[in-house]
Symmetry: C2
Subunit: 203 residues, 2 copies
DNA sequence: TGTCATTCTGTCACTGACTGCCATAGATTA
DNA sequence: TAATCTATGGCAGTCAGTGACAGAATGACA
C-alpha cells in the first residue's frame, strides 16, 4: 500500500472513531457533520469525500460484511443447497469478526451500542441490509440458473438468512462487551434458525 | 366524522395522490416538497403538518398495514402457535387490500410501481417494516410471557413472517396491474414459507 | 534536485428537507 | 356578537449534501 493510501486510510479511521465517540456522547442527531469534521481538522466538504453521508458512518460495517458474504458465497460449490451456502456466509462474517484487530472490535462494539440506543439507526441498517440481500439473491439465482425477479424461493431463503443474521446481531439483552459473546449469540441464532426450517433444506 | 376532519382527510389524500403522480412522472428525488405543496395549493409548511416528511408519502401504506397486523394479532387466541397467528395477520392485510376502495387500490398500485423504480425507497420501506417488526415482537413476547429482549425464537419467527410479506409484495416480475395478482402472489409466498418451515411449527 | 501531472483539499455558493415562532384567517361554541 | 380554538402561512434559521473552482500536497521522473 502506497504512502498516499495509507494516509487516506488513517484519516478515514480518524473520522470514523471520532464520529462514533461523538455519537455516543451526545447522540446521533445532535452531532453535526461540521462538528465531526472540525474534530478531525478537515473541512465538511472533505468529510463527504471519505463518507458518502453521515449515515454511512453507522453503516461502515455493512460494506465490509457484504464483501465477505459475497466472496464466501462465490467460493462455495455450485451444487451445494442454497441454505447451506448461506449459513456458511453467515459464519464467515462471524469468523472475520472474531479475528479482527482490537481497534476493529472496539469500533464494532461502539457501533452496537449506538444501534441499541438509536432505533432509527437500526432502520438504516436494515435498509442497507436490503441492498445486500438483493446482491445475494442475484448471486444465488445465478447459481441456480433461475431469474432473480421471479424465483421466490431464492428471495425467501436469502431473506430468512439475513433475518437470522440480523436477529443474531440485534438481540440487545443482556448487554455485550465482548465480541465473543456476540459471536456465540449469532451461533445460537443460526442453530435456532436451523431448527425452525425443514431438515431437508440443509443438505 | 366532523366536517372539519373530513376536510383534513380530503386535503391529506389530495397531497398523497398529487405526490404519487409527480413521483411517477419525474422521479422521487426530482420532486420537491415545494412543488408538491404548490400543486395542491398549500404552503410547504402546511405540507409538513400532514406528513412528517417527504418519505412518509411513500410509506403511507405501512401505517395502515401495521395497524391491521397488530389488531389481528391481538384478536387471535393466546394459545395459538405464534407462527400461525402471524400468518393470519399477513392474510388479514391481504384481505383488507382486496376489499378496499378503488381509490385505495389505485394508490397502492402506484406505490408499487414507485418502489419498483426506486430501490432507494425499498430501503425506506424495509426500515419502516423494522419498526413494525419490533411491535409485533413485543406483542407476541407478551402473549408468550417472555422478555422481548431475550426471546430469540420470537424475534426470528416474526422476522420470518415479515420477510414472507415483503418478498410477497416485492417480487417485481411479471409486472402487476391488478391487486388480485398481488394478493395471489402473496398467497403463494405464504404457502412457500409454510413449506420451508418445520411442519410442527404451525399447529 | 527541480519540474510536471495527479490527486487532495478547502472555499464558496447553492439546493432542498425540515423546524420553531408568531401572526392571522376561519370555523366553533357560548 | 364575542370569545375561543385550530388550521394555515410567512419567515428565519439549521443542517445535510453537491457542484465548481482554485490552490496545496504528493508521487513520478528527468
Amino acid at each position: 500500500m502506497g504512502l498516499r493510501e495509507a494516509k487516506k486510510e488513517k484519516t478515514r479511521l480518524a473520522i470514523l472513531d471520532t464520529a462514533l465517540d461523538l455519537f455516543l456522547e451526545q447522540g446521533y442527531d445532535s452531532t453535526t457533520v461540521e462538528q465531526i469534521a472540525g474534530s478531525v481538522d478537515i473541512s465538511p466538504r472533505t468529510f463527504f469525500r471519505y463518507f458518502a453521508g453521515k449515515d454511512h458512518l453507522a453503516l461502515w460495517f455493512h460494506d465490509h460484511g457484504e464483501e465477505i458474504m459475497l466472496d464466501t458465497l462465490r467460493s462455495r460449490p455450485a451444487d451445494e443447497p442454497a441454505f447451506t451456502s448461506l449459513m456458511h456466509t453467515l459464519r464467515a462474517v462471524l469468523a472475520d469478526m472474531e479475528d479482527s484487530t482490537p481497534e476493529d472490535t472496539s469500533r464494532f462494539l461502539k457501533l452496537r451500542r449506538l444501534l441499541d440506543e438509536h432505533p432509527h439507526l437500526v432502520g438504516l441498517s436494515v435498509a442497507r441490509g436490503a441492498a445486500t440481500e438483493r446482491r445475494l439473491v442475484a448471486e444465488i439465482a445465478g447459481r441456480r440458473g433461475t431469474d432473480p425477479d421471479t424465483d421466490r424461493f431464492c428471495h425467501l431463503i436469502v431473506a430468512f438468512a439475513m433475518s437470522t443474521m440480523r436477529v443474531g446481531f440485534e438481540c440487545p439483552k443482556p448487554a455485550v462487551e465482548d465480541v465473543r459473546e456476540i459471536a456465540a449469540r449469532l451461533e445460537e441464532t443460526i442453530d435456532l434458525a436451523h431448527s425452525l426450517l425443514r431438515p431437508d433444506l440443509h443438505g
